[in-house]
């Protein structure tokens, strides 16, 4: 199978590739969201702890 044939997906390229792109995007987004949520919660908690120390 040539590379061209592979990308053509037997004529279904315009359905197959967007599907894969979409699901990979969902995976990457979920990883980014989860890590960002944790980062934000940590920053927020650190701020709360610091505020308590000053009062």
């Amino acid at each position: 199978m040539s590379l061209e044939e592979f990308f053509a997906m037997g004529g279904y390229a315009r359905y197959v590739w967007p599907s894969y792109a979409l699901v990979l995007a969902a995976i990457v987004l979920n990883i980014v969201w989860a890590r960002r949520a944790l980062q934000r919660a940590r920053t927020e908690a650190r701020r709360r702890v610091a505020m308590k120390d000053t009062t």
């Binding site: 592979f6 997906m9 037997g10 004529g11 279904y12 359905y15 197959v16 967007p18 599907s19 894969y20 979409l22 699901v23 990979l24 969902a26 995976i27 987004l29 979920n30 990883i31 969201w33 989860a34 890590r35 949520a37 944790l38 934000r40 919660a41 940590r42 927020e44 908690a45 650190r46 709360r48 702890v49 308590k52």
Partner: protein, 245 residues
């Protein structure tokens, strides 16, 4: 005592450090399985005798749909546990599920649509399975909207838990919809009690994707749970330790 492990699971500091330690054990196998499944689905598996290369959408569509049902079930069960036994961590698990569930439900619908276009001749049909999966998307969005609308976390936990539990009826409806009604959607090839009806080289990448998505869900859930637990604990001493580290 045999029950101490269960009680420790309800303790936020224990859960926080346990989740941190467990995450890589799920994340890395998930990455390997999904990469292997992608290779297998796109290259190793032979073309379908009817749909040619077009059927390869299966390898991202079915795991996304599986993920949507798995996430909803997890959300409903943990919401029920939180409501019945008043376990805060269980509510935190439920709250961590919603955004993941919504995104993969959307992915399942959109990839299904892209698959339906060449095979059924339409991007959308008000078919039972499609319709109930769309309702599942609205359930996730409704759950998120409801939580966002209530400022008090404990009240949001209780109210959204009821919504999550009531909505779980849709999970078996989606699963069995292809058997109960005449559906455009094909019936199960893998997720059934008898042997899968699929050649080996097509089946293996699909199983890798299912397992990979399941492990990915656990890894994501553990990370979101840490964030959720951290933001819920207002003044506990253990927080000082984890954030200064």
């Amino acid at each position: 005592m045999a029950w101490t492990w269960f009680h420790r699971l309800g303790s936020p500091p224990y859960i926080y450090s346990l989740a941190a330690r467990l995450t890589p054990w799920f994340a890395w196998p998930a990455a390997l399985l999904i990469l292997g499944g992608l290779y297998g689905g796109l290259i190793y598996a032979s073309p379908d005798y009817q749909q040619g290369e077009g059927y390869r959408i299966l390898y991202v569509h079915a795991p996304s749909a599986w993920m949507s049902l798995m996430v909803y079930t997890t959300m409903a069960i943990s919401a029920a546990v939180g409501l019945i036994w008043r376990i805060k961590v269980a509510h935190a698990v439920a709250a961590s599920c919603a955004a993941m569930g919504a995104s993969f439900t959307f992915a399942a619908l959109a990839t299904g649509s892209l698959w339906g276009a060449p095979m059924w001749g339409t991007y959308w049909e008000w078919d039972p399975r499609l319709t109930f999966e769309l309702i599942l998307l609205f359930q996730f969005l409704g759950y998120m909207g409801l939580r966002a609308a209530i400022d008090d976390v404990q009240r949001a936990d209780r109210v959204s838990a009821v919504l999550a539990i009531v909505g779980v009826v849709n999970v078996p409806i989606i699963h069995y919809s292809v058997e109960w009604w005449n559906s455009l959607h094909q019936t199960a090839s893998v997720m059934k009690l008898s042997k899968p009806t699929m050649p080996f080289d097509m089946l293996i990448p699909l199983l890798m994707m299912f397992l990979g998505f399941t492990l990915l869900f656990v890894a994501l859930l553990l990370t979101r749970l840490r964030a959720e637990v951290l933001s819920r604990e207002r003044s506990a001493a253990w927080i000082r330790e984890v954030v200064s580290a």
